[in-house]
Amino acid sequence: MSIKGGVHQDLIHDSAAKHVSGRAEYTDDILEPVGTLHAYLGFSTVAHGRITSIDLSAVRAAPGVVEVITADDLPGENDVSANGMHDEPLFATDEVLFWGQPLFAVVAETRDAARRAAALAEVSYDTLPHATDIAASRAAGAPLVTPPLTLKRGAVKPAMAAAPHRIKGQMEIGGQDHFYLEGQLSLAIPGEDEDVRIFCSTQHPTEVQHVVAHALGVPAHSVTVTVRRMGGGFGGKETQMNAFAVIAAVAAKRLNRPVKLRLDRDDDMSSTGKRHDFLAEYEVGFDDEGRILAVDGDFFARCGFCSDLSGPVTDRALFHADNAYFYPDVELRSHPLMTHTVSNTAFRGFGGPQGLIVAERIVEEIAYHLGRDALEVRRANFYGPGRDLTPYHQQVTDNIMAEVVDELVATSNYAARRQAVLDWNAKGGIIRKGIALTPVKFGISFTATWFNQAGALVHVYSDGSIQVNHGGTEMGQGLHTKVAQVVAEAFQVDIDRVKITATTTDKVPNTSATAASSGTDLNGMAALNACEAIKARLAAWAADKAGLPAEAVVFGTEGVSVGDKVTDWAKFIGAAYMDRVQLSATGFYKTPEIHWNRDTGQGRPFYYFAYGASVSEVSVDTLTGEYRVERTDILHDVGKSLNPAIDLGQVEGAFVQGMGWLTTEELWWDDKGRLRTHAPSTYKIPVASDIPREFNVKLASWSENREPTIKRSKAVGEPPFMLAVSVLEALNMAVASLDGYANCPKLDTPATPERVLMACEALRSAPAPAKVLEIGE
């Protein structure tokens, strides 16, 4: 017999019943206290310029307006940078650095009144030249927002010179808006003394707490930040919530009334950071077998106006520019460029996808050059014995890449289907097909080593019910469910006895962002640590009473047994309480063995790697550029899954989100530096009719984490995002068929139908360039 809801079981999301009935409470659903006011922001309307005058009298005079707040009204510093660089003003005061930068806040009786009033500001600017994209930023010699990184092993120059084949190329990789369905919002409620309590949709309550304390000029102990659940985060609520929480808090303290700030979707998209777009320039040297001998790469990133998380994001791009492949001699350089755009930020994969996709493009280029199936080239370059050192000098010791790929090749029937695709294309029709298998290897841990710690608080109440709280936040990924499973398993009680409560800084302090896929790894361990402490106290007490050794106390499914006497859990706990046993404990965890020296570019930044692979098959209409994904097969490694149902959901969702990044999601700024794709009317995330017609997703059930992580599981949030690369490569193949696969079409991303069509046209028109000229004349 086993308990209900222990580890390694399929278990529904702890809030599922509430989700389907509309009863799950998100921050905007919290009953507003009487007297709640609403704040809104005034935004800049130039990409770069000096403010010459700002007249807010019409804003102040507008109906319902209670207060206008500018930089001068801030009790503390006009800065919301989370990294201590002091480069991210809450309100622009003199120089505006992007279109949509907040200038002031207005507080009114209703949200509608505040929004209408904010639009009445009269602001004039001396406009200055702006550089919104990577090319313009490089041309203007723009500064870097944060120090760059170089990863280096061996001697790349001589190795490249000696290589039998060399290819140079470049790839443009588009950004991505998070499009969490629930936008950014914050509700601040003032308290006595310097206190303020903030409810907000954030992945990083502790950081909000610190940034608010800083802006109010009060100690962190005065600020409490709480989040029960988010309507999606994906990295977009790691630092991007800070400014909105600060405004709500400052207004609430100033007016001594609750203040809520909820952004409209268009403003949310215009004034919060996104996934970094990259330009990669690479050179690869390889032999006749397609074995990579040397790789030299430059990674330019659009970082936006300030540093935010661009340092670690661009670092992680380099960390994943090898994906699953051994580069004998290698040098990789990051260039975190300042641009006059909103500051780009964390997004699922955190730069990793932009690095990894370049590795896959390099492999593809080699394959087309040698006229081979890219899968052969991939296999020839996988890490293996004696070829297991990454560009950052970490040894890959848990490699299961080949096993994952072999199994997927078999289960997806890859070889036969590839042949069928080749045969189909050989007939030469309008509709062309493509198929590709791409692997993923992704490093798990925060590269900022100190973030790899977590705390938890577990209470057992005298009726036997259990409450658990930890530093991780729930954004749909099922973290709370998994942690509750760990607790149920530890005490051997049904999960119904365990309640997970809202993440709040006054229960568990000094937490890390729920990010880097680390939520369960860190918080599951911390919760387990707390449970073990309580169990040890209970065992010592019960053993002592029975005159037996502590080992005689066993927490089992039927209850707690002491010697041969079994007591029901609730009775056992009730007795422990009456005998004055402490039934509450904190827990703590820090990831062992990791270290990283950024100056030398060497260390073990990752505790372990997660692996996966996918095969996608697409059909492309070569006259319109439209395409659809016919079938995708995925095999993904989550170690020994804590909850296969939740993990499968993560894999599927991540894949489709990755597909959106690579296919339909196009961010487009006009020549004035204004984002024009700032709503779902123009910015297209995948919808139900876009996903693969056949979608076979499996977990590598045989896998176990070789490191002693929580129940030998592996993190799942980010790695499967990159499985979508197989879609891009399949599109490339369909296009390449137009000239007999003689050239790698090198689609940039997102590979919108427009881009696919242009790639088709380029191949079709290549043999007769003279004609094009004639028409032009």
């Binding site: 009935s21 659903d29 309507g231 969702g653 709503a679 779902p680 009317s681 919808v687 009719s689």
Partner: protein
């Protein structure tokens, strides 16, 4: 602006509220009636998170004025379950784990129910296109489609 007295039926109950004539039905439901199950994802009719039925027609409540509900009947997610029993669609969404953050879920359920009310045996392709106006950023839709197909089968009295 002076407020307008709106008398309407929501989930079968007679309801009255005072609305600014510029307020959307979405805001009226959330702010005046206290029904917060209906969500705002975009406010411009492009995400479906605010889906409700107005006199049996599936609408984005962010594109309907609150005063337009006068004399009509509104169905929201809160009215989908009966007598503390979940509707088969709701149950199948739970069983299939067809949700993650849950923010899109109410709108998708309302939209899916409106499909099944019209078409008891939709094809997978019909489900995909019917739900193409409902964005979900978390799940990748596959489990949602499975849950709707399964619920349709159950409602037809077929064993899944």
């Amino acid at each position: 602006m002076s407020k307008i007295h709106v008398t309407t039926t929501i989930n079968g109950d007679a309801v009255e509220f005072l609305a600014d004539p510029r307020e959307t039905l979405l805001d009226c439901l959330r702010d005046h009636v206290g029904l917060t199950g209906t969500k705002e994802g975009c406010g411009t009719g492009d995400c479906g998170a605010c889906s409700v039925e107005l006199d049996g027609t599936l609408v984005c409540s962010c594109l309907v004025l609150g005063v337009e509900a006068s004399g009509k009947s509104v169905q929201t997610i809160e009215g989908m379950a009966t007598d503390s029993e979940l509707h088969p669609l709701q149950r199948k969404f739970v069983e299939h784990a067809a949700l993650q953050c849950g923010f899109c879920t109410p709108g998708i359920l309302v939209a899916a129910k409106s499909l099944l009310d019209r078409n008891t045996s939709p094809t997978e392709e019909e489900v995909r296109y019917w739900l193409a106006g409902n964005l979900c950023r978390c799940t990748g839709y596959d489990k949602i489609i499975r849950a709707v197909m399964d619920a349709a089968a159950e409602l037809r009295g077929e064993a899944a």
